[in-house]
């Protein structure tokens, strides 16, 4: 492999990080909103969220991105590959994040909620002062675990022409007719990125004493 090829792979890694980062930044709060809708038993909307979560966690990333990339423009606006990739990862991770936030909400101590209600706190204040500060701590390790799952599913976005790590490796292989070396380097890059998150998860687990390692 040439130096130029290696640089292409690093640029691909940059794209993987950018798109995954965007998916995380959008998907984590969206998941919280969805979780609150279900937790608060909002009529109709709660049911829709339940269906959304069930559907989104069942669909493979590759299939979903192809659907978004080709189907959305026929019923709505034209959508570019990078936008499609961010939308796909956000929608997908939000479904999983919703379940994580919801588990945290369901396990929230009922006596604290009652006490805050007795003090006459508004629901918004109660969420901001009482629930959220504890909720995010207990949810952080599984949320970070979900972030690694997101990065691991990100090779799917190559199929619509986003040049992330995998596609960069494919291109080099197609030029040299020797696809294995760039794929090995690509795998090493993924492992380094994901290890970073796994390390982060270990630290938060230790700090907040949670078991969130399961997939």
């Amino acid at each position: 492999m040439t130096a130029g090829a290696f640089i292409s792979l690093l640029q691909g890694a940059g794209m993987t990080l950018f798109i995954s980062g965007a998916g995380i930044v959008l998907g984590v709060p969206l998941g919280l909103v969805l979780a609150l809708v279900r937790w608060g038993r909002v009529p109709v909307l709660g049911k829709i969220v339940a269906v959304y979560v069930s559907l989104l966690r069942s669909v493979p990333a590759v299939t979903l991105i192809l659907l978004i990339f080709f189907a959305v423009p026929t019923i709505g606006p034209e959508i570019g590959p990078i936008t499609a990739a961010i939308v796909m990862l956000t929608l997908n991770t939000a479904a999983f994040n919703c379940e994580i936030w919801r588990a945290g909400l369901n396990n929230f101590p009922a006596d604290q909620l009652e006490a805050s209600r007795a003090f006459g706190m508004t629901p918004l204040l109660r969420f901001r002062r009482i629930i959220f500060p504890q909720l995010w701590r207990s949810s952080l390790p599984p949320l970070i675990n979900e972030m690694t799952m997101l990065i691991k599913s990100s090779p799917a976005i190559a199929v619509v022409g986003v040049v992330e790590i995998t596609r960069a490796a494919t291109r080099i292989g197609a030029q040299t007719y020797d696809p294995l070396p760039p794929m090995i380097v690509a795998t090493v890059l993924y492992v380094l990125v994901i290890m970073l998150f796994v390390g982060l998860q270990r630290i938060t687990e230790r700090r907040y004493g949670q078991i969130g390692a399961e997939a």
Binding site: S54, L55, R57, S58, V59, P60, A61, V62, T63, L64, L66, L67, F70, A71, T74, T148, I151, K152, S153, S154, P155, A156, T166, P179, L180, M183, I184, A186, T187, Y190, V191, I194, M195, V198, I211, A213, E214, A215
Partner: protein, 218 residues
């Protein structure tokens, strides 16, 4: 558009073949990974650090590799080491080794949450060695892991879509080849999405039944 769905319907045999491959790969792969994962969990729970640490490292490393890359390396990389698997076997092999790590991690986490009491009681009743694991420990862990194992099975079904890269004729491969030849991307992929959804709803229903059984045993 109805013409598009008609084209997909005309090639329903391809989709059915893909679906069968997806189901067999996922179920058989999950079953094998479950068994190997249980064995690996015993090693992860070992009191001996020299045993525990290296296996811990292996599991962690496996959890850092994207499934797609692993499939690629198994299929195109292993022949350099003399292991030349056909695409279907390579897909199965990848599912099993990848998920063995995840299954072991699930069992480990559930196991470490289970009380030591039942274990000590069982030892007191004279259960030892393999019988202790088969009769006492694993039945408890399996039942307590129900939802997590269900989630993992859904993950396996979704990951199997990546096997299209090594030409395994699974469901996404079938949908993709129909759309690439007849230019009916929406119809082909919406049908695929709905089939995946149906599969995962079945898994959820299965988890529900297992949970019922777990409660009945309690």
């Amino acid at each position: 558009m109805s013409r598009d769905f008609g084209i997909v319907w005309d090639h329903a045999d391809l989709l059915v073949e893909g679906l069968i491959n997806t189901v067999i790969l996922s179920l058989a792969g999950a079953a094998l990974a479950l068994m190997l994962g249980a064995l690996l969990a015993i090693l992860l729970m070992s009191r001996n650090r020299a045993v525990r640490i290296p296996f811990r490292g292996m599991v962690d490393l496996m959890r850092c590799v994207p499934f797609l890359m692993l499939a690629y390396l198994v299929y195109y990389g292993l022949p350099s080491f003399g292991l030349n698997l056909d695409n279907w076997s390579a897909g199965m092999f990848t599912i099993v080794i990848y998920n063995t790590a995840y299954m072991a991690e699930i069992f480990r986490s559930v196991w470490s949450r289970l009380g030591r009491e039942s274990l000590e009681a069982a030892t007191a009743f004279g259960f030892q060695g393999p019988r202790l694991y088969i009769r006492i420990i694993f039945p408890q862990i399996f039942l307590a892991s129900g939802p997590l194992l269900g989630n993992q099975l859904i993950q396996i079904i979704k990951d199997s879509a990546f096997l299209t890269i090594i030409a395994v004729p699974e469901l996404t491969h079938a949908a993709s080849s129909i759309q690439a030849q007849y230019f009916v991307p929406f119809a082909a992929f919406i049908v695929a999405v709905l089939i995946y959804w149906a599969l995962c709803l079945l898994v959820e229903a299965g988890v529900f039944v297992v949970e019922r059984a777990a409660e009945a045993r309690r």
